[in-house]
């Protein structure tokens, strides 16, 4: 009987969700609104790529959210 897979220690299982940028905050942070039914707002920082630093309100992005803190995210790419 197979066992449900557990993630390896030290690996992160993140959830990717679509989102819309609402507001640019200081320190390359953005307030984004998730494209989920509840339209939750999360604070997100950008991942690597500098083109993401020039995001403007209204831009469509993909945000990665860790299960530990649903209020923070990481903008992975444009959508």
């Amino acid at each position: 009987m197979p066992e449900a897979r557990r993630p390896l220690p030290g690996t992160r299982e993140t959830l990717e969700v679509g989102a819309t940028v609402r507001e640019a905050l200081p320190n390359a942070l953005f307030r984004v609104e998730l494209a989920t039914e509840t339209r939750t707002s999360v604070t997100a920082h950008v991942a690597g790529e500098s083109s993401l630093l020039r995001l403007r309100p209204g831009d469509e992005v993909v945000v990665e959210i860790a299960p530990y803190d649903a209020g923070r995210g990481r903008i992975v790419r444009r959508r």
Partner: protein, 259 residues
């Protein structure tokens, strides 16, 4: 950390595994059109109890039966019920037992009557994938080498391997460390040492690898509803290589003492 078993503990493991495989032989013969999956469960339980063992799955995390029976697009953990097997179905039979505190676990997929060429090919490739995994079970190799061998073989034939469920260490519990995925890069994860016992169990799909669990909380089906097959054997790593615990020790009696 996984537990290394002594030679006498391996004998007990082998006893449990033989009971399971004997019962699977009986179930394979009984898998005929018109038989219900509940009837198959009854046969499984009778065989296990007649052999002086106890079902390992019954009650495990609330699982309600002795046998897992997974038809066609069902991958694993199908619960026996009123469903009747039909000509052309492929049926995953997964069974475990406990004797004197030691667990045996094995599975195979069988055809009901005549089935499609695609289904036959899937079963053949899945079984070969299992043996590709078993063949890597030498001390010094790693758990990732097993998964890599399984995945490589299945994907070479255009199939995909399930990620959400994995094989496992086995011994005095049904599921022990380490987990044994059927995919991934070689050279990673735990090192294999003599005395480890692993249940290696590729689940291979004709279509994509994603699976969903149905509302019963157990039955896993392929998301694209493509056919899926499942084979499993419990294997001990010995200093001479793999020992499929349901078979006689393959490396000669003289060597047995220092396996």
């Amino acid at each position: 950390m996984s537990v290394q078993k002594s030679w006498s503990e391996l004998q007990n493991m082998a006893r449990a595994c033989r009971i399971v495989v004997n019962a699977l032989d009986a179930l394979e013969a009984a898998a005929l059109a018109g038989v219900t999956t509940r009837e198959m469960d009854r046969i499984a339980r009778e065989h296990i109890e007649k052999a002086g063992a106890r079902p390992a799955f019954l009650g495990y995390r609330g699982y309600p039966a002795t046998l897992c029976i997974s038809v066609n697009e069902e991958v694993v953990h199908g619960i026996p019920g009123p469903r009747k097997l039909r000509e052309g179905d492929i049926v995953g039979l997964d069974l475990g037992c406990v004797v004197d505190g030691f667990y045996g676990d094995a599975a195979r997929t069988v055809a009901v009557g005549r089935t499609s060429e695609e289904a036959q090919r899937l079963m053949k490739v899945t079984r070969e994938s299992l043996f590709a995994g078993i063949d890597t079970c030498h001390p010094g190799k790693r758990v990732g080498d097993i998964g890599h061998a399984v995945q490589t073989h299945a994907e070479r034939h255009g199939y995909s391997v399930v990620r959400e469920f994995v094989g496992h260490g086995i011994g005095t519990s049904l599921h022990e460390e380490p987990q044994v995925p059927n995919y991934g890069p070689p050279g990673r994860r735990e090192r294999l040492v003599a005395g480890m016992c692993l249940a290696i169990e590729p689940m291979v799909n004709v279509g994509r690898s994603e699976v969903d669990v149905l509302a019963d909380g157990w039955t896993a089906v392929t998301r694209d509803r493509s056919l899926s097959a499942h084979y499993e054997l419990s294997v001990a790593v010995t200093q001479h290589g793999p020992w499929i615990l349901s078979e006689p020790y393959p490396y000669g009696q003289a060597e047995a003492a220092n396996a």
